[in-house]
Symmetry: C2
Subunit: 130 residues, 2 copies
């Protein structure tokens, strides 16, 4: 797979998963998380490890998320043939509240030839300025 | 290189760079940043791209950082043969102030057989709870 094709494929996977998440459905993310998935977000007290943990965490959010508008800004993919990092800024609007995110997703090509996410890091843009 | 050896090597690179950074010297990080380096931290307003940008940013910090104590917590490496993600929590103490960080470093094995960082994401742990 050429690097440009990897980039387009990962951005498409991510966009589809985000669209579902923004409508309360975590399945498209859960379907592309690897068993050894690791996770940081602004609410967790440390790195959280493993598919079972994220599955429980996301099941608790099922049906509760409704993002009215979002924009994925400037996605970039840095890839080797079987691992890649996708990074972007995200603006998401819930009612009158606008959130600005930094997002890092590390994908790995698995033995079944599917790209899966092994690590995800979400943070709030300029959180130290707030 | 076996995965365990990659993990030990990357943790050693990172620890040496952190030690230098904590004493005001950015050179050990700059020496292991790739040309296509990308960067998120809690002060930047978006993803910042490229070695030249981070070099300017770090030169501005040279001699100004003095971290009195730090602890790298639970480092984990998820690796393929030529790309890997190192993640850890970091506690750093400056005077009486304690900072708790989430850190993601994506390393890539370059053509000269050196591991370099292609992406770094720093955020404050539980920043949404503050």
């Amino acid at each position: 797979m050429k690097k440009e094709d990897i980039a387009n494929h990962l951005i498409a996977l991510e966009t589809a998963a985000l669209e579902a998440w923004n409508n309360g459905n975590p399945d498209k993310f859960l379907n592309i998380y690897a068993q050894d998935f690791t996770y940081f977000d602004p609410l967790t007290e440390k790195r959280m490890d493993g598919f079972d943990w994220i599955k429980d965490f996301y099941e608790g959010a099922r049906g509760k998320v409704k993002v009215d508008k979002y924009e994925m800004i400037n996605p970039a993919v840095q890839a080797t043939e079987n691992m890649a990092v996708l990074t972007y800024n995200l603006i998401s609007q819930v009612g009158d509240t606008i959130y600005r995110w930094n997002c890092t997703e590390v994908y790995r090509l698995e033995e079944d030839n599917q790209w899966k996410i092994v690590h995800n890091h979400w943070s709030i843009t300029e959180s130290l300025k707030k």
